[in-house]
Amino acid sequence: MVPVWLILIPLLTGLVSFGLQNAKAVKAWALFSTIISTTLIIAGIYFLNPSSLQFNATWLKLLGSNFSFKLDGMSKMLCLLTAASFLIIFIAINKNEYKNSKSFYALMLLMQAGFMGVFTATDALLFYFFWELALIPAYFLCSMWGGEKRIQVTFKFFVYTFAGSLIMLCGIIYLYFQTPNQTFSLESFYNLHLSNKQQYILFWLFFIAFAIKMPMFPFHTWQPDTYEQSSTGVTMALSGVMAKMGIFAVIRWVVPIFPEAVNHFSNIVIILSIIGIVYASLIAIRQDDIKRLIAYSSIAHISLMCAAIFSQNNTAMQGVLIQMFNHGIVVIGLWIVADAVEQQVGTRKLSELGGLAQKAPALAIFIVVLAFANVALPLASSFIGEFLMLSGLFQYNIIMAAIAGTTIILSSIYTLNMVQKIFYGNTVTLTEKAVDISGNIKIALTILVIIIIVLGVYPQPMFNLVK
């Protein structure tokens, strides 16, 4: 029952919050909901009976689709990431004012329900259902709160991802008719014996949908605009959790079902990913807007994960699994800082900022830790993941690993450049009046930094979790 509750809690609390009137009550309610979810998933991982981690019920009986969920290692980790991320996001944006805040928090919770469903569903149709369910609240969140151009940008985002999803739906229907007893269950998809030709075509039907979601070069064009224009609370959820949906889905749905095709196309995908890494990093160096910079940095990191999956060895896969969690934590931290800077100073332009460290010393300490984690310096959690991924890639092909390795150098350039320009040097007029961050952001960032350092020094719990 645990997976069902993980979906139901945010779903129900989300629906309830549409009815709440007071902005403060809504905030407390949303926080309460995520605390329960987080407690539940932690209990599910460490204390509860493993049999409670599965759920099965008939749903669309005539189609052979079941309401079946399962929490395995990867699902546990990603559900933990989802619950924890939303908890941290809600803490961090607690002081922000949103107009019509009940809808904002309600939609955020509904989105969380969609994420949980995607990560736990073991039925293809159910998976597709939640995949889209997560998109609808995202569409409204992005188009109702955020920057000037948000409507056009969200439109592109939605049509793009919807197109990808429908291609995947065709693939799912095709696989359904291939199964001996006409079912959508993941297990029967795994047992299919598809010819090479079938795999080659179906692989792309699925992979394009996931590549758009990650996003991976050349399907990434919606991402920087959407991340920039959305309200930062939403961006945190999009890049912290939603981007992992793509990676997760490749590991869960593409690699085991189409092993031949993965083998056949791995070169193409890795090359695209590496282009993505270098290209996005180079663009990130040139960005003046903090949010766009983090967006491009996110593309680079996600692309590395994608390349690692397709290098098809155990080392790289271990790296990807734990890096999904670590990247989520780090990137949310970066967004919180970006949001804090914008709230304090009123601009996101690097060229207009400077010397903030003198006014906001606490924020400066946090950003330095987060920056090191983003660069993947040893002792920060990302180091382990990126090291494993790169060494896995190295086993696959040395040259590709070498080019992909530039990600660490390039990311140190843009990350440290960003830190330097915002926080060091002399204060400018805009930063003159800035004060340090408020308590709630401190709490959120402290939690993140503790996770980063603990997992950086002692990553064993993560390895145990995803084993």
Partner: protein, 467 residues
């Protein structure tokens, strides 16, 4: 007259009774107040709908010309529901109209024709029903006498339906010439795969395709929809289409099975053309009614695609889709008719910032459009899913994929409206529109229908069990 005449014929008798009741009121010198009259009519329509769910029997009447069974009763219930919802939605428009009674007499006569069409087991009955369902609507399309555009629309409707009836009659006389009978089941036994029979069937079928406005017989749709009052437009696009679709299913299943190879191919190509051309035309529309006209053309394409599969499952999924289509389309039309009655605004650009002052209406519009586009978790997704799944048994995967990709195009133009509604613009923006109780009830029924019919797929199993 068989003893269960009143039970077998009860739905038609109800309508006749209501029509006579209205005529008697019209003849009386003292007319009741407008609101009382509308209340009475709506109650009668509600009773009419409820009565359809009890004491249903199977049987034949009028020398086997009229057949009824549980499935037909259910189809008629769908139409009754549509009529009730449209009646509730048009109260505001009717309150200022002098000819309320005439409006309902025309509407219900047309509904009576549709019932006869659904139950027909004989070409004569089918033809009579078809004419009875079309001619009153042509009169009703011109109901706003002072509008020139209405006159144009009504003229186009009457001419094009007269033309299609001619072709239909030609087909019927050919069929009669080939087989010497007008009875569906006898024709079914006598038809053979030979040129004359095929030609006869095609002529007949073209007549029916006109009624559902399948490409290439769709050109009348947009002008008629634009010219008619919203109530009639919604009736045309929901009830009229549904009834013609039911009749097509009936004919294909009961009358022309020997020609399956022919009509299977014809339907696939017509369906594909209908989906694609309907969608492409819809992209460029500025008037919401025209947009919905073309979108309904493409929705019909999906139904025809499923009809080509010729199985019990495909029939059930079409009927299920029509039920959902009633909810989704009427949710959209419900909002449009309110806006049109209050402010005479019908173009997309006039809906700019609609959300600012009309939150409830905006959400209804939005949910309706998402359901039409087929996005989970709305019922529209399940409707399309079942259609595509049942169609997949008879068509190649490529055609399925083309159809699915067309959902992206439709998403594009539906979302364009949603985008405009939520776009923020302080200068323009529609004033708040008061929502009368009836309209609110109708909209709520539609929204609840959209949200529940899909996820709780009981309706589908129910339709399957009726066959």
């Amino acid at each position: 007259m068989p003893e269960n005449f009143f039970i077998l014929f009860k739905q038609e008798l109800w309508l006749v009774a209501i029509i006579f009741f209205l005529l008697i009121i019209k003849l009386k010198t003292k007319q009741p107040a407008v609101t009382t009259l509308l209340n009475r009519i709506n109650v009668l329509l509600l009773l009419n709908l409820i009565s359809g769910f009890f004491f249903n029997e199977e049987g034949r009447l009028f020398g086997k010309m009229f057949v009824t069974n549980h499935l037909y009763v259910f189809e008629k219930n769908i139409l009754n529901l549509a009529a009730l919802l449209i009646s509730l939605q048009s109260t505001k428009w009717l309150e200022n109209h002098k000819h309320i009674i005439e409006f309902y007499v025309l509407l219900l006569s047309s509904l009576l024709g549709m019932f006869l069409m659904i139950s027909a087991a004989n070409l004569l009955m089918l033809y009579v029903g078809l004419e009875l369902s079309t001619i009153p609507l042509a009169a009703a399309a011109n109901f706003d006498l002072h509008k020139k555009i209405s006159g144009e629309g009504a003229m186009k409707l009457i001419i094009s339906s007269a033309f299609s009836s001619t072709i239909l009659l030609l087909g019927i006389s050919f069929l009669y010439g080939c087989t010497g009978t007008l009875d569906f089941s006898v024709i079914n036994n006598l038809l053979q795969q030979q040129p004359l029979h095929i030609a006869a069937f095609l002529l007949f079928f073209v007549g029916l395709l006109f009624k559902v406005s399948a490409v290439p017989f769709h050109l009348w749709t947009a002008d008629v929809y634009e010219g008619s009052p919203v109530a009639i437009t919604s009736f045309l696009s929901v009830a009229s289409k549904a009834a013609a679709m039911f009749a097509i299913l009936n004919v294909l299943n009961k009358m022309v099975q020997p020609l399956f190879i022919t009509w299977h191919t014809v339907l696939i190509w017509v369906a594909l053309a209908t989906i694609i051309i309907g969608n492409l035309f819809a992209i460029r529309q500025q008037n919401l009614k025209r947009l919905l006209a073309f979108s309904s053309v493409s929705q019909v394409g999906f139904m025809l695609l499923a009809a080509s599969a010729n199985s019990a499952v495909s029939n059930a999924s079409i009927i299920y889709f029509i039920l959902i289509y009633v909810f989704s389309n009427l949710a959209v039309f419900g909002v449009i008719s309110l806006v049109s009655a209050a402010l005479q605004k019908e173009t997309i650009t006039e809906y700019q910032s609609f959300y600012t002052n009309n939150k409830f209406l905006s959400w209804c519009l939005c949910i309706g459009f998402f359901s039409l586009a087929g996005v989970p978790p709305t019922a529209g997704f399940f409707g399309k899913l079942f259609l595509l799944m049942s169609a997949a048994q008879g068509i190649t995967f490529v055609i399925l994929t083309i159809a699915a990709l067309n959902m992206v195009i439709s998403m594009y133009y539906y979302l364009r409206v949603v985008k405009t509604v939520f776009a923020k613009n302080e200068n323009i923006g529609m004033e708040k529109i008061a929502i009368p109780v009836y309209n609110k009830i109708a909209l709520l029924i539609c929204v609840i229908g959209i949200l529940l019919t899909g996820v709780l797929s009981g309706a589908y199993s129910y339709i399957i069990s009726l066959q």
